[in-house]
Amino acid sequence: MSATIAATEERAALERIAEGVARLASSAPEVDLPADERVRRAKRVFIEKTDARVALDLESCLHCGMCAEACHFYEGTGQGRYAPIHKLKLLRKVYRRELGPFRLIQRLLTRDLTVAELEQWQELVFDSCTECGRCDMICPVGVHLSRGVHITRQALTAAGLAPAELRALDAEQKSTGAILGAGVEKLRSALEELRSQGIEAPLDKPQAEYLLLTTASDLLIYHRSLAATARIMNHLGLDWTFASSGFEAANSGAVSGDETAQRQATQRVVDAALACGAKFVVVPECGHAYPALRWEGPNQVGRAFPFQVLAISELIGRELESGRLRLKPLGPGKRVTFHDPCKFGRKGGVIDEPRKALAALEVDLRETESKGTTNYCCGGGGGVFFIGRAAPLRNAAFNIKRKQFDATGADSVVTSCGSCRMNFAVGAQRNNWNVPVESLVELVADGLAAPGPATDRGSVV
């Protein structure tokens, strides 16, 4: 399949997905609760989640406002209410009144949490925060702001106040395990397509060393990424498989704060990994999936994993390091810049490996001013891509990224997250920006040094 045709197909698929996303809100289950019940449930979550570390955060903020200066939503809009610390106000209020050392006095001096506040905070912790953690990097005293935002999401979701689109995604994944209709049937047909291209794509092997996950954005839009991942696994000669009982890396509950959904999605993957005795679980180019599984997963299921979780780019880096993977240069003068997806990079710890891959491909890497741990979020992470009314905010964030990219003089942007790709595509269209956004695994697959069993780039099967 030619690159141009594939790209056109991807654009069409993205448009279909965007239309589906726009209808999400209407399919969301209603959560009708009396006001005081909402407050009670939210409070319970705030109280449960505020441990000693969170408490130290809440006791230390000095209202300096520097967190806002690191936030793309504040930078893009100038609106003071988007300051990250402001998002934590309800968490702090409940902590001080219910758990804090001076709670007896605080109860006399402050007003209790209200449902109006909870409703007001929906915009602040969902629409205008991607939990990217850039604010965590700047705070002069070290408040872990993004963690506080996540707890607030969990509280709002428990109170039935998650945005409709996220509630819809939660409901779907809880009942079918899938995101946006990308269920087992879609998986099977996608794998058939791979095999028709001559790419091995094992499914449901009873035993395998590597359990590969995929995600809705790859199954529905970025088929080439799926193909590239499979080709790399095959090229490396790894013993791998997909599992129909647990293939979706994305975790809607990890994003919305719906803990039931989050645990279920994690458990599905863990069960699939245990079933085939996997030593490694490989996460594809889906940002939040990585920290949700690697860093939060063991706490969701209550025990350390007997397997290692690797991002596909992490796996690539490891193989390059050991010399088992060799890549060929992708042609002289390929000027690219790399966008670190916040969930892989700042929240995941996978920062060096993509650069190792790009170095091995001998591309001319032009880094943006903010990169790695200080990279700007694409603006669509943390579920914000799905929230319809957040479009102006996403756009403001996109324009910051655009300026960063344009300043590098690169010809294309490489990233390693489907959510970022979708967000950039929408932003590019809205702002008439023509710089292509490429997938890291696709580039790596293009650069595999020895021809593998799959065909080379550009040939049609």
Partner: protein, 352 residues
Amino acid sequence: MRDVLVGDYLRGRGVSRRSLLKFCAAAASWMALPPTMAQEIAAAIEKARRPSVIWLPFQECTGCTESITRAETATLESLIFDAISLDYQHTLQAAAGDAAEEARHQAMKENWGKYLLAVDGSIPLANPGYSTIAGVSNLDMLLEAAKGAAAIIAIGTCAAFGGIPAARPNPTGAVAVSDLIKDKPIINVSGCPPIPVVITGVLAQYLTFGSIPDLDRLGRPRAFYGQSIHDRCYRRPFYERGQFAESFDDEGARKGWCLFKLGCKGPITYNSCATIKWNGGTSFPIEAGHGCIGCAEPNFWDKGGFYEALSVSRWGTFGTVAAAAAVGAAAGVASAALARHRQAKAPEGESR
């Protein structure tokens, strides 16, 4: 004797006009008046009637009397004692016993409403027996004598503010004159003792103008008590430059550096020690190498120690801080324990 004019009396005693003018020039200077006033002061003193002064020594150490009456040398100060008619001062007077008391009553009667009452020493209230004169308590004697006085001069910190007897725990219940007398003008001439010429300067002012001098809010003549020792201290430049003696007789002390760190109370003490000085202008405590102890101020005994710098505060001890930390720890531990208990009760988060 009392009807003789002061000028005649002084001439009778061999005091030349020149000496009188020298005294008046000095008095003008102390009162921050222009030198030309000397003539006016001299003219006024000459024409003044010798005022009757009744001096009541109460619960005192006699230091004020000693300070003022260095009678060995004929000083300018002693001139004023020739100018007044000191009708009662039982340390100095010749008469004693009943005769002395009789003389006092006589003077009071003859000059009722016009005599100056000078008091030194505090008045004990806890038990009148603590200090009596001829069997009469200080309190009773003061109340009686104050009734006919034109004005009262409280000489020394004891009379002005209670002084040493009033230092914690004040076992005698010592109080100042102004604590007891509310209906007469009182001039507080504080100091332990006051500088001699400050006394005579106040008297000279009263003689000259027949009125009470300008007083600060503690009732002290602003002419002598209007500026702090610190503001007039010759060692001030060292304070500004941060050069301080760290201990007595160290290098800084020998170089004459500021004594702030050795407890000098100069910044909060108002007196003329740094300008007029003592012993005819010879020196004053700071110049002699010891910090000011603030003796012209109320409660100077109870302002921390004499060797405790002004910036030292009684924050407690390491023991009290440790006790406070223990109290805080107990409260904090209890708070956390109760909070954890509450968190454990909230069931594991089911979102719906």
